[in-house]
């Protein structure tokens, strides 16, 4: 039986026209553009995303130069982490990689941080099975994690506003870098 709602664009529009942002949201944006002031939550998200994108982009370039491990590492599609206010952030590397993963052409994995310091890698193995493995962040101070990463060729650039102390920025960078390093180790182990 053909459902009458399916090709009915009128019903679709009627239904989803009720999905609207709150008037406060628009007012908040207008206020921001007038005063150039942003709420802290917004800055934090942008900051963290910026840090992640830089870290991943560099790691991907590095991965591409490796042998079999590089092939797998090249397929990273996403990285999920939590900002300090507990909100999740997921960064996709680029749309081409994402599309390829959706079409099942490449191996891929994503990293999901479960809580403070512990992450989880989800990847598809060569047989197409989804494998989930927990990863632990290195038990080291932030500075050491970042130094180790730099030696491996991962340069993490952190940009932030005056709302954040240097320690906060460094800790955020170290968390992502630590997870990347742990992911890289796992990928190398898998490739071996």
């Amino acid at each position: 039986m053909e459902h009458k709602a399916l090709p009915d664009t009128w019903l679709y529009k009627q239904t989803f026209s009720k999905l609207v942002p709150s008037p406060q949201l628009i007012q908040e944006v207008l206020d921001m553009t007038e005063t150039k002031k942003r709420p802290k939550k917004f800055i934090l998200r942008r900051l963290v995303v910026a840090a992640l994108v830089v870290a991943l982009a560099t790691a991907l370039a590095m991965g591409a130069n490796a042998a079999t491990g590089g092939e797998l590492f090249k397929g990273v599609v996403s990285f999920v982490s939590y900002s300090e206010d507990g909100e999740a952030i997921m960064v996709t590397v680029d749309s081409d990689a994402l599309e390829a993963a959706e079409d099942g052409d490449v191996e891929y994995f994503s990293i999901k941080e479960k809580g403070s310091g512990q992450g989880r890698i989800v990847y598809k193995d060569k047989d197409g099975n989804t494998v989930i493995e927990d990863i632990e962040l290195p038990d080291k101070p932030s500075k050491e994690i970042l130094e180790d990463a730099r030696k491996e060729g991962i340069a993490v650039e952190v940009r932030g506003s005056a709302d954040f102390s240097d320690e906060e920025l460094e800790a955020a960078a170290a968390r992502f870098t630590g997870q990347l390093m742990a992911a890289k180790s796992l990928v190398e182990k898998l490739a071996a």
Binding site: H3, L11, T15, K18, L19, V29, E34, S78, E87, K112
Partner: protein, 160 residues
């Protein structure tokens, strides 16, 4: 863009951006964040828009890209269950509720194309360009989305 022009554009496109974001994230908080990001990008852009349609396409493209960057789900976020959220939307009658929930049950990659096609009225080829995928891929996605919607809505109808 000057303040008056931006205020008018924000008023005009905030709904579209929010709906695209909600179709992608199924989450009010994320959808609002994405809406905010896209509007701020619109404010800061140096792009000289040739027409209203040019600006509309730019906004949709940026919204789709923002959604890709911040793919999210109820699994990751504290969110209100969709049934509860649907009740706050003042949907009229079971048909609208069923359609809302059926669309939201579609896999993530199908929801935005369905919105662009059915709500914004873009043909499949245009949806492909706006989502940055090949037309053939979009054709397949739309076909699968329609099949899934049909199945779900027919099941709903039988149950009622």
């Amino acid at each position: 863009m000057d303040s008056d022009a931006f205020a008018a554009a924000a008023e005009r496109y905030s709904g579209t951006i929010y709906r695209i974001a909600f179709h992608s994230c199924k989450n009010q908080a994320d959808a609002e964040d994405i809406t905010q990001n896209v509007l701020l990008k619109l404010f800061r852009t140096q792009t000289a828009f040739e027409s209203e349609e040019h600006m509309r396409r730019w906004v949709i493209r940026v919204a789709v890209n923002e959604c890709k960057k911040l793919v999210c789900s109820a699994w990751f976020r504290r969110s209100v269950p969709l049934e509860e959220y649907a009740q706050t939307l003042s949907l009229e009658g079971p048909e609208e509720s069923a359609l809302f929930l059926a669309v939201m049950e579609l896999p993530q990659k199908y929801r935005v194309p369905v919105y662009l096609h059915y709500y914004e009225g873009y043909p499949v080829k245009e949806c492909a360009a706006l989502c940055g995928v090949k037309p053939s891929t979009m054709q397949t996605r739309m076909q699968r989305a329609r099949e899934k919607l049909k199945k779900k809505l027919c099941e709903e109808e039988r149950e009622n």
